[in-house]
Structures are given as C-alpha cells and as structure tokens.
C-alpha cells in the first residue's frame, strides 16, 4: 500500500467522488434528521403548523419517547427481535453444522439453497407467507381436508416472529457455516476420545469454539429485526407494532416528523449498541489470545 502523499492526485481522484456523495446524501441527511429530532412543530397563530418547524427547541421528543407507551413498544421490539434471533440460531446451527459435515460435492448446492431465498424480494417472501398461512390459505386448506381448522395464524406476534425467522435465516447460517468449517475437527474428536458424549462435546467444545460465528450471526439477524417495519406491518395484528412501524407512522399518517426523527435516532443508538457489544466480544476473545 502506498502512502497517500506519494500520489495525492490519484488519491483525491479516487477519494473525492465517493466521499462527497456519502457526505451529501448520507451524512447531511442524517444531520437533518438529528436536528429535526431536537425540534418541534411551529405554532403559528395558536395553531400547530403542518410543515413549519421551530428548530432545536430541546429534548421534548426524546422525553416523549420514554413515555411508557413507547417504552413498551421499544421493549416489545427488543424481545421480538431477540426471540426471532434465538430461534434463527437454534434452527441455523444444525443446518450450518450439517452442511459442514456433508459430503464435499453437496456443500455448494446446500449453501446455495440456504442463501437463495435471501435474494428473493423480502416483500415477495412475506407475501408468500401470507398466501400460505392466511385463513383461506393452503395450510388451512390442507388442515381442512383432515377436518381441522381453519386457524387464524396471521396477524399476531407469533406470525411476526415466524416471518422474521423465515426472512433472516440465511444471515445466521452463513457466519456459522464459515466458523464451523474452519473449526479443527480434531478438537471434537479429542473431546469424544476423552469420554465426553456427543452432547457434552457440543456444549463444551463446539459451541465455545464457534462463538465468534454465533456472535456475528446474532448481530446480523438482530439488527435488521430490530429496525424491521415491513414484517410487522404485513404479518402483525393491530397490536403487533414494533418501533419501525411507529417511526413510519410519524413520517406518514401521523405527520410528526420531529418525534419520528427522535425515535429513529434511538433505534440507531440501539443498533450501535449491539455492534459495540459484538466489538467487545471480539476484543475479549482476542484478549485471551495475547
């Protein structure tokens, strides 16, 4: 690698366009959002204006955000995301494990089968779930043949969690696969040889040694779950709203942008918190190595 000073002309030619773009269409918009989160709607002639604002008036939006109503929603977003992430982990781990121990010629196909749904539009996959699970959907149709149902399977928290697991599973499988594949199998053999059962080996050797992959997967699934808006919107019932839906309402139906901006920043802080946690974990596992 060259020092940039060796060739400043090339350096700036390469660096300026993407940096300016990012500054203009990402950092500045975030700045707008940040300012908005500390603003209030202007009051003109005793009436609250629709699109005029008093900028930088204070923390009122954040104070509103800790109202029990919104705290409940945030808490619910967190636990729904956590539950979906945990379920993803439970399902994805055996899959990743199985792919690693599958015959070599099967591996690429199995991996492709796992990641392919990820490339299919999120909306379409969610729509496919609706078509299958709605009251008049195929599942109920099949259940009807054996005299069961119909059941109302959609429009509740369970449907949201199922939808999230369905949609984000590949994010969990891939990092797990990468770490299990790299794991030296003689550790597992040594454990079995020393008298541990398969289950003990899994808990005491496999899981600790694949922790980096587990953490990556958990973060990769948890973050988009936390910020999701589409899945609860389409699969959740009236009371299945998550923080993403509240934000959307502030910017669309409720037209309360300052409050929406504040909630967006809280969501971003939560995301960064999750990333920081992962960073701490990697530091710790590296710190062990020093």
């Amino acid at each position: 690698m060259d020092n940039w000073k060796q060739n400043p002309r090339v350096f700036w030619t390469l660096g300026l366009p993407p940096s300016i773009w990012l500054l203009l269409f990402f950092i500045i918009p975030l700045g707008f959002l940040f300012v908005m989160s500390f603003s209030d709607k202007a009051v003109i002639d005793g009436q609250i204006s629709i699109n005029e604002y008093d900028y930088l008036t204070g923390f009122s939006n954040y104070i509103r955000a800790v109202d029990p109503l919104y705290l409940t929603i945030m808490w619910k977003s967190i636990w729904i995301s956590a539950l979906a992430t945990a379920l993803c982990l439970v399902v994805a781990y055996p899959i990743a494990f199985g792919i690693c121990f599958a015959p070599n010629r099967w591996k690429p196909l199995l991996l492709l089968l796992v990641v392919l749904p990820f490339w299919i539009n999120l909306l379409i996959r969610t729509y496919a779930l609706i078509a299958v699970f709605r009251t008049r959907g195929y599942v109920n149709e099949v259940l009807g043949l054996v005299g069961l149902g119909p059941f109302e399977m959609l429009y509740n928290d369970f449907a949201v969690i199922f939808g999230l697991v369905y949609v984000y599973m590949p994010f969990m499988v891939l990092p797990l696969y990468a770490t299990i594949e790299r794991l030296d199998k003689s550790f597992l053999e040594a454990s079995l040889d020393l008298g541990a059962s398969q289950f003990q080996t899994f808990l005491r050797v496999t899981v600790p040694l694949t922790m980096p992959g587990i953490i990556s997967g958990v973060i990769l699934v948890f973050i988009p779950c936390l910020g999701t808006f589409l899945t609860p919107e389409l699969l959740g019932g009236a009371n299945a709203i998550m923080i993403g839906n509240v934000i959307e309402r502030q910017f669309k139906a409720a037209n309360d942008w300052p409050f929406g901006a504040a909630l967006s920043f809280l969501l971003m802080y939560a995301t960064f918190g999750a990333l920081a946690l992962r960073y701490l974990f990697t530091l710790r596992s590296k710190g062990v190595g020093v």
Binding site: G98, W106, I120, L122, Y138, E189, Q198
Partner: protein
C-alpha cells in the same frame, strides 16, 4: 443413552452427514423455506381466480399482469431506477474500493467505518433521513415536477447511496488478490499511471465490477423500505406497488408479477455468484 449406541460399519462418530435426524431436519427446513415461494410460483399459473385450489394451467395471470398499466409502469420504473443506480453505484464503489486498497492515509479505519455505515444502519432510518433531506432541501419538489424519467431522480440518488458501499466491499475483496508486482512491471515498462490502470488493473477488477454491479442491481430492484419513503406520490416502483396490492389481498396477478421479479433477481444472483467464485490462477 444415545451415545452408548453402536456405530455402523464404516461410519465415524463425526459423520453427521449420514445421520437420519440431520437429513430429516434438512428436508423439513428446506421445505419450510421453499414451500411458500414455490407455491406462489405454481399458483401464478393457476386458472382459479380465488387462487386456492389448483384448477388448471394457464398464462392468463401473466397476460393480466401485463395488461395492468400501473403494474407495468411500476416495473418499468424499477428497472430504470435499478439500471441507472447500478451505473453510478458501480463507479463510486469501484473508486472507493481502489482508494482503500491502494492507499494508506490518516484515519483510514474511521473512513472505512464511515463507508460501512449505510450498510449497518437500519433501512428505515436511512429512508426517513433521505425523505427529510429531499423535502427540506427542495429536491423533492424539484424532482416531482420533472417529466418521466427525471422524476425518478430522488429514488435513484437514494439507491446509489445504499448500493455503492456494497459494491465497494465486493470490488475490494477482488482487488485483494491482485499481485501489485504486475502494476510495478507495467510502470517499469514505461506505462503511465493511467495506462497501467486501464490495461492492467481494470481488466483484473472486471469480474469484481460485474459481480458488484449485479449485486447493486438486485439490491435496487428489491428495495422497498427506502423507496417507500423517498418516492414522490406519482413515482411508484414495483415493490411499492406490490406492497399496496398485498395490503388489499392475495391475487394471482401479484403471483405472476412476483414470479417475474424472482426470476430476474435469481438469474442476476446466480450470475454474480459464478463471477465471484475464486479466480483461477491469473496468468501475468
């Protein structure tokens, strides 16, 4: 106890690939993963309007979808946006990748983090930030009043912003395998910086660029959340259109339209994966 069970001849204790429970698990997971999508595709060929019982094979739904002007308009918009956004995103992403690959500079770690931000922050946050920005800077008003296809400008800008960091990642991972001695050899033979780039580095980057471009294309084509916030009232993309239809209920036309989109993205993805496969030994 399970582990007390004897092994089968020729089967090692770690040969999980042959375990029945794992096979059953695989089959059921893949069934759950694919059954809804496959049903969706299958029923796009169903004659039954209600779409539940299989009544016979037909292309009617495709014809209907094709004759549905608003659906076609949305699809056209999506393709135009994806096409233009891909060009910009690929150029910007390649520049960023070259910068990070080639140079050491102060605060590089910070800069890389900054580049990764659009990838990590929740989509909805990015969507609302861009909405706010477009409205407050007057860009929204400006673009909305433009004739087609210029009225898609704000959506294109938004798409370029979230796509190009992904392109940068893909292109950079390709560049890592480049043998810089080739570049030095070229310089040594008297080629200018520009000639060297054009004749040595760019051909090497090409698979990465194509893979990155295809990734940007599918990301743009698939995006719902950011488009949902940044589109004007008149500019509807395909996912946004599907969203409004889905809220109204399930219909075979959506199945047909979705199938088309699935085919486009899956083809693009498989192409991208082929191109991203580890490069064969590069001859100098």
């Amino acid at each position: 106890m399970r582990s007390a069970a004897k092994l089968k001849p020729g089967q090692g204790p770690l040969d999980y690939g042959n375990r029945t429970w794992l096979k059953v698990l695989f089959v059921s997971i893949f069934f759950i993963l694919y059954a809804p999508i496959l049903t969706l595709i299958a029923f796009s060929f169903n004659t039954d309007r209600r779409g539940i019982v299989w009544r016979g094979f037909t292309f009617d739904n495709y014809v209907k979808a094709w004759n549905n002007d608003s659906l076609i308009e949305a699809l056209t918009n999506s393709l135009v946006i994806a096409f233009v956004a891909t060009i910009f995103a690929t150029i910007l992403g390649a520049l960023a990748a070259l910068l990070l690959w080639r140079f050491r500079f102060p605060m590089k770690g910070g800069y890389e983090g900054f580049m990764a931000l659009p990838i990590v922050i929740p989509e909805i946050c990015m969507g609302v930030a861009l909405l706010l920005f477009f409205v407050n800077s007057g860009m929204m008003g400006f673009f909305v009043s433009m004739p087609w296809p210029l009225n898609l400008g704000n959506i294109i800008i938004a798409h370029v912003t979230f796509c190009f960091p992904f392109v940068a990642v893909v292109v950079r991972s390709r560049l890592v395998g480049f043998n810089r001695q080739l570049e030095e050899a070229s310089r040594d033979l008297g080629a200018s910086e520009w000639q060297t780039f054009w004749s040595v580095i760019l051909p090497y980057m090409k698979p990465g660029l194509i893979a990155g471009a295809l990734l940007a294309f599918t990301l743009s084509l698939d995006d719902f959340v950011i488009t949902f916030f940044t589109s004007g009232p008149e500019t509807v993309t395909f996912p946004v259109k599907v969203y409004s239809l889905v809220r109204r209920g399930v219909s075979p036309e959506i199945n047909a339209a979705s199938t088309v989109l699935i085919v486009i993205t899956v083809v693009a993805t498989v192409l991208a994966m082929k191109l991203q496969a580890p490069p064969k030994a590069d001859k100098g």
